[in-house]
């Protein structure tokens, strides 16, 4: 039996900066994970529906527009509503310190800012993913 880590990389909102999301998607693939990429302009509902159908272990949200306090929270709340408590939710983007704390309170396990190394992210996922 080979359990593979399945990760959903999603870009909520209207922000089109997908360089980071794509680099991370590729890097996680190269770390042996199965990465589902949904493309741009995802609503919270789309993210959660996809996470359910794909039975992912990790949901990675990427956003650089600054709308994270609305859009990340929307996803986190839906995930909580659906009681998907075994899904690891992480986020990346330009997130000020104060917001990081609030996001963590809302259930986001990791928030990665600019300059985060991919190794760091891979390790974080491997350590925190449901076993």
């Amino acid at each position: 039996m080979v359990k593979k880590i399945r990760v959903l990389i999603a870009k909520p909102g209207l922000d089109g900066h997908d360089r980071g999301a794509k680099v991370v998607a590729r890097a996680l693939r190269d770390a042996g994970m199965e990465v589902i990429y949904t493309g741009l302009h995802q609503t919270a509902d789309m993210v959660v529906q996809t996470a359910i159908q794909e039975d992912v272990d990790v949901v990675g949200l990427s956003l650089l527009s600054g709308a994270h306090m609305t859009l990340f929270i929307d996803v986190l709340e839906l995930i909580k509503d659906r009681k998907m408590d075994d899904v690891l939710v992480i986020g990346g983007g330009i997130v000020p310190e104060g917001d990081v704390l609030k996001l963590k309170e809302a259930g986001m396990k990791g928030v990665f800012g600019p300059g985060t190394s991919i190794e760091e992210m891979v390790d974080f996922i491997k350590e925190n993913v449901r076993k």
Binding site: V2, R29, T38, I52, D55
Partner: protein
């Protein structure tokens, strides 16, 4: 009845998703649930979609799903993409083309990586189709990239198989010659608004002429422009016609039987492989046999016989 199987049969997306994962991972919990589900499956019509890279298959599948929904059908989609042979990971991007289907509860989409040979891709796809079928989906569409042997195997699941091409891709006709001709029930030339469409269709028709004999259904060539939703209605009408044809000619049952045969072989193969390559008692032995083969102290045939003898004892 087990709780997970029960939830699958009631159409619960999370249960469907989880059971597919069990199957992909070779989790023993999966087999037990599959036993419960089997009697309830067999009602969904299965469409296989394969073809060259960049043919617009995902867009076409998306448009087909939309049209099927308009016709009142529920749809399951299994989108298979290759796993990287180097890392064992995969980038599954087919959903990008299917975003508009996500919020429709009558549609369930699952992306799958081909994973390794030992993972038994085909059997996971068989299971995924059976699970979606048992969960009540009227139609299940299986989409695979490329036209390699693995894809040909997967496509055995389908009741109707379409091979998708695009105009102007010089090699695409060549690819067909290389072996996919036989599996196509319908040829689709997508991106029909592109230059070169007439030539591609003509080349295909003359290829079909070569293999077409009296008394056999002639494989039709349809044109679509999926991005503008053009030709999709006609395509699904053709699928219906093909279904009527195979049902009336007895080929439907033959195909289903072939599917289960393939699945049976696949399950046995997978179990055997697991038994031989994953179990500890064999691992050390295989290493030492390999060593001996390399040193010319033994040949691979004798080694295989030794392993099988041990296994059957």
């Amino acid at each position: 009845m087990s709780e997970l199987a029960e939830r699958v049969l009631s159409g619960d997306p999370r249960a469907i998703a989880r059971l597919i994962s069990y199957s992909e991972d070779g989790d023993p919990r999966g087999a037990e649930e599959m036993k419960v589900i089997h009697p309830k499956a067999g009602n969904a019509y299965v469409i296989g979609v394969t073809g060259v890279m960049g043919a617009g298959k995902s867009t076409l599948v998306c448009e087909m799903a939309r049209e099927l929904r308009r016709r009142g059908k529920t749809v399951g989609i299994v989108a298979v993409d290759p796993t990287s042979p180097f890392s064992g990971g995969a980038l599954l991007g087919d959903r990008i083309r299917m975003n508009e289907l996500v919020s429709d509860e009558g549609i369930f989409i699952r992306s799958m990586g081909t994973r390794g040979m030992l993972g038994g891709l085909a059997s996971a796809v068989f299971d995924a189709v059976e699970i979606l079928d048992a969960s009540g989906k009227d139609v299940v569409i299986v989409e695979t990239v490329g036209v390699g042997q693995a894809e040909v195997d997967i496509i055995k699941i389908a009741d109707t198989t379409m091979v998708v091409l695009v105009p102007g891709l010089g090699d695409s006709i060549q690819t067909i010659k290389a072996g996919i001709m036989e599996i196509a029930d319908i040829f689709v030339v997508n991106k029909a608004d592109r230059p070169g469409i007439e030539r591609t269709v003509a080349e295909l028709e003359s290829l079909i002429d070569l293999s077409h004999g009296p008394g056999i259904r002639r494989v039709p060539v349809l044109q679509t422009t999926a991005k503008d939703s053009k030709g999709v209605t006609e395509l699904l009408d053709e699928v219906n016609a093909h279904e009527a044809y195979i049902r009336s000619s007895g080929r439907f049952d033959e195909r289903r039987k072939a599917r289960y045969q393939a699945e049976l072989v696949e399950i046995i193969r997978k179990r055997l492989m697991t038994l031989i390559f994953d179990e500890d008692k064999f691992k050390g032995r295989i290493e030492s046999l390999l060593e001996r083969i390399q040193q010319k102290e033994m040949d691979p045939y004798s080694a295989a016989e030794e392993i099988l003898a041990k296994l059957l004892k």
